[in-house]
Amino acid sequence: MSKTIITVVGKDTVGIIARVCTYLADNSINIEDISQTIVQGYFNMMMVVDMEKCEKHFIDVAEELEKLGNDIGVIIHAQKEEIFEKMHRF
């Protein structure tokens, strides 16, 4: 089962990770890795997650995360990891 990469980019504010992680926990999505930086006040986070136990369809999750991002004021993308693997690994 391929992994999903969730990225969060936007202006730093309190509770971004909490809101995203709550959503993931509510949907049985397991976080395997998190890395995060803040450059000039801009928040940039990436999570590697496993969606195997999630009952929702991938596209629905991606759309709900996008909406959650709109609520918080950040941009959230969920993408299958192959696009990054393919581009950066041979």
């Binding site: 990469i5 990225t7 590697v48 993308h77 696009i83 393919k86």
Partner: protein
Amino acid sequence: MINLREVSETNEMISKENLDVRTITLGISLLDCIDSDKEKLKKNIFDKIYESAKDLVSTGDRISKYYGIPIVNKRISVTPIAMVGGAACKTPEDFTEIAVTLDEAAKKVGVNFIGGYSALVSKGMTAADEMLIRSIPLALSKTERIMSSVCVGSTRTGIDMDAVRLMGDVIKQTAELTKDNDSIGCTKLVVLCNAPDDNPFMAGAFHGVTEGDKVINVGVSGPGVVKTALEKVRGESFEVLCETIKTTACKVTRVGQLVAMEASKRLGVPFGIVDLSLAPTPAIGDSVADILCEMGLESAGAPGTTAALAILNDQVKKGGVMAASYVGGLSGAFIPVSEDQGMIDAAECGSLSIEKLEAMTCVCSVGLDMIAIPGDTPNTTISGIIADEMAIGMINQKTTAVRIIPVIGKGVGDNCEFGGLLGHAPIMKVNPFSCSDFVNRQGRIPAPIHSFKN
């Protein structure tokens, strides 16, 4: 494990530098639709396209959401219709009916263009070929989504000058029939030399007879990605310049390969090729001319442009070849005028002429593309421009093309507007001296000496 820097790089290419998959093109053979009964032929064609492509658009949209990469166009290419319709069509009007059927099928499955309203006449025309060619003006004025191409020459066969002469008339008639919309019909018609069988890009896409029953070909783009990469190596040596283009092209092509394999798997259709072409759009930051400027030119068309374009085209191919299991189509840099804001600016400020564009086509991946010329340009002059471009392709063993728009009612200094991806363009000056005695000669130009390789 993939890291944050790599993920950010990919996503910035998509969100800020206009990286996209320009097209998933489903090639469909219509050879098994052939029937001498025209109505039966039309039904066969419609049914085969519908059955083959009904899931194409939804599949493309789903892949786009899975990977977060825009897939801008979903398209179809079919067997050249002159071959398919030959047994049933007895007049140009009969062929036009096939065009209408293709248009209806395209609308039904939701693709924005269907290519293959074509004839391959590089050595001579059959009666059916000639009828199809003569039907093009009416077919393009009666349909919305049909793309038409005519291959009039190749390195192996020479150039069919009778077809070249005919195409001068056909382009002009197409312009006349669509004169209310700046002769937009001509934006859907291309004349080719050495046409590839597996090109996914319009207007020249058709499903060659060397192909299997169905095939998935994918075209990726990304002029903005290359431009941004080059911004970081300003003033560096040619070695660094070339390496940067090559590495970037390689990354972009990998995305195309991924999308192609996924589309092939989901649709149950064999994967054909990835075409890595830097295909500009009128959007800011999506320009091939801007890359040439980033390489060190004040404006596209300045001395040095041909060399810069040669580097770009070659390095894009080298990067792409490493990245995909099968590379094909046109793969390289497109240099359309109306579809590239940097080229439009260059034409408007006078740094770019048709003659310089012609020189550039010796080293770009295709040819004279989306160039608006005065509507009163003589038909024979249009044929002369085609003949020049075909000769470049024939002698240099490369694909060349002419997609030129004589805008009826407009002259040098005017502008024309095609809208959307087709863009807008200033009318460019054409050399006023005549070539009519040359193009009015009958027959064909023999194949060049280096075609004899047996």
